[in-house]
Amino acid sequence: MVGGGISGLTAAVEAAEAGFDVLLLEKKPGLGGRVAQLNLYFPKLCSPNCGLEIIFKRLAANSRFRFLTSAEVIAVSGGEGSFEVVVNLKPTFVKENCTGCGRCAEVCPAERPNAFNFGFDRTKAAYLPHRLAFPYRYVIDGEACRGPSCARCTAACPYGAIDLEMEARTLILKAGSVIWAAGWEPYDTARLGNYGGGRYPNVITNMVLERMASPGGPTSGKILRPSDRREPASIAFVQCAGSRDENHLRTCSGVCCLVSLKQAAYVRECCPEARLAMFYIDIRARGFYEDFYARVREGTGIELTKGKPGEIREDPATGNLLVLVENQLNGRVLEENFELVVLAAGMAPSALCAGLPASARDRDGFVSPVLAPGFYAAGCATRPMEVAPAVRSGAAAALRAVQWLGRRGHGR
């Protein structure tokens, strides 16, 4: 299993419970992937941690499941029944016998921007990936750490779990089949110059808003404008920020409409007076999500405007943003002022790994669910999707991966 996000975890847990040995490789120091960063799921407005907790619980008890974190796959070779996977283990400077007591972070003098919160706050160089981290184990950021000359953490750790001399290692693993679930990256909105992405502090992405709204996030769940840490009186959600765009992501990301509606719903809870507006081309609330759309539309008083904003301008004095958009209903060009703009940044496929031939990718950078006999892909690596289909895609890939083993009587 390459990737410890929701589809990878699902594939792992389902295959392990079906009786097959699973080894999961995750590039980051913790499992959970992108969903671990989310505040709430749509349409139930429930926390992703509820589902993750059950998955972790099932995996923690399952002797057929093993995993490596900070492990990046650099090559996959061989074929069904005899794959060889080359894995690069990045040094985390903390050994597996870390108990998660946190002494290292208490004494650590160095800091790093917290990538989990998109740099909106800082952690010590020795840090827990996040509150619900699985494994519950500290890691040390090699770039921020002052190295063996400091070593305060080594002295503080009662368990001898810190090894500042740890080096990268390369492993070669054998597998009967491989599932590729490398997931997605939020589209880099700095490329959306006309929206001021990456330039105007109060133009943020939907993922940043998720972190902000999360009780464990950088603002402890408060929605605050980055420029002045003030609660915004008006928020605009700009859809298709990079999606459905020949110049950026050619595909629709499938989820952003619902993400924005969801965000409108929870923002309404904490900012009851704020003006909420959403600018869109089509509201793609397919299936039963239509109910959710109707509920949010009626329950939040969000102003829905059909029209893709052409430009967002900042008033440098106030940090407020002028959104320029043609309202398709009356053809008028609106120039509306907002205190915060949330760009619904689309889903870009994760960066190419050496393990996968470039030819495996389609024009959008996604891969086919069946790459070769024994080599399958799942989740957002195959196409943009929300959590539920990613879970199903994970289960589907797990089935394909165990077919060869099943025919040989494994798992009984």
Binding site: C240, R244, N247, K308, P309, G310, E311, L324, R332, V333
Partner: protein, 200 residues
Amino acid sequence: MKTLKGAGAAQPLLYDCGFAREIYALEGGAQLKRCMQCGVCAVSCPSRQEMDYTPRRLFSLIRAGRKEEVLDANTIWVCTSCCTCRVRCPRGIDILGLMHELQFYYLRSWFKVHSRASFQQAFWQELRERGRIGEAGVMLRCWLKEGGLTGAVLKSLEMKGTGLRLLRRGRLRLIPPKIEGLTGLNKIIDKALAQQGYAE
């Protein structure tokens, strides 16, 4: 912003795809089919305040076959060729190219000179006659077209200051040279025009 004829009135606007097909057949015209009416172009245009219809609206009118409204609108003439719409169009439509193509369509099918086109026509004449453009020559031709001889004289007088300044600073060549291969160039142009099914 113009209001549509018939808009809000009892008579609904009737779709007629013939005109759209003519436009689709223009060079690059088929791109217009891809428009998903998002309106980015409308906001991005620096001339949007002067436009009768935004490009988005214009395209929907073309699709509906509203030839008269489309060609009457100033939209295609106030385009500054700034490329902003083209860079931003999420469907990758060369909107700027379409505007030029619509100008071309207008001039060749309407058989009349649009007052807004005199500059273009002057430019083209100069190009055909010399192979290169001299700013002074083009402007003079343009003014001649717009206002006849008197107009041209008046306009030149009005612009005298600028012109003299430019001349003084060595930035105005009154009689630019002809290129050597002018005949060849014109042959190429004639052929290309013929290929487009259009001869001057």
